[in-house]
Subunit: 172 residues, 2 copies
Amino acid sequence: MGIATPPATLSAGSALDGYDTRILAELQADARLTMAELGRRVHLSQPAVSERVRKLEAAGVITGYRASVNVGALGYGIRAIIRVGRAEYARVVRLIQETPEVIDAYNVTGEDSWILQIAVIDVAHLDAVVTRFCLMTETSTSIILNVAREHHPMLPARRENIRPPLVKVENA
Amino acid sequence: MGIATPPATLSAGSALDGYDTRILAELQADARLTMAELGRRVHLSQPAVSERVRKLEAAGVITGYRASVNVGALGYGIRAIIRVGRAEYARVVRLIQETPEVIDAYNVTGEDSWILQIAVIDVAHLDAVVTRFCLMTETSTSIILNVAREHHPMLPARRENIRPPLVKVENA
DNA sequence: GATGAAAGGACTAAACC
DNA sequence: GGTTTAGTCCTTTCATC
């Protein structure tokens, strides 16, 4: 997943089983569950579930626990996506690090080099932030109108879960 | 912040003070802090921080607590951003809801109507997911190479914190 | 992996300032 | 709004099965 996320495998090399999958689902939905309650939900004893969570953390599968905040309630009236064109890598990284309005920053393939999500107070603030990036290269800004899904919980990948496209395409 | 995040204000109409700001910073960094430890860090008694956290939750400022997972460790080798062009709103929402690979889905202004973040196992899986959206309208897919920032903690907005662009622009 | 015991810490509610 | 206290629950560690 890029240099920002170190490679992670369970230290013992063991795969994630059904218990781990259920633990991951529960903790992605509510990170403040007590180990006792988590044990009840996945039908494991409390020491057993504590040990599994500890291993998932040590293996780098669980990377942290965060409170999610409603940025609107914090006074940010606008969220936006900024696409940033080619520019000197280190300069963009530095500008991102100096810009607290940036929530997410992804370096991507294609015409645009970077895709950022930002939160700003109003249009004047949006202008101030966008201008900082405009001064380096071309940008394209889209205001977020509505969120259909965010931080969707992810479970271990299973190839058999891949759904074919809704219209069948013949293989070449 | 759009229809997906209900308007939220502190029920008593009171503003967030310095204690709330510090509590939000701590819980965004580590959602599993105990109320006792949180109290020590912000210099409040444990019942006092518990009550403040309860009010922040009730006011909709804190919307939840999530474990962050390393999707690479779950077997997803590729993360990508898909930009989706104009299409019938309800059909796109339904397709998003039926697609577990979608992590985030934002409805935005501009040429593209939707910006999605997805996680997939490999290129074949990427093809399968992208095709589902391609069949509805035009799409543009960029693979995430590197993450400079993700889920950056946000504090209450303060207009005096807005930084001017690095190059001064004269007002009209 | 389950169970049980013991020690230390955390949570809730109440009384109070 | 804040603190302190008291009772209950949770967590960790250990041992045993």
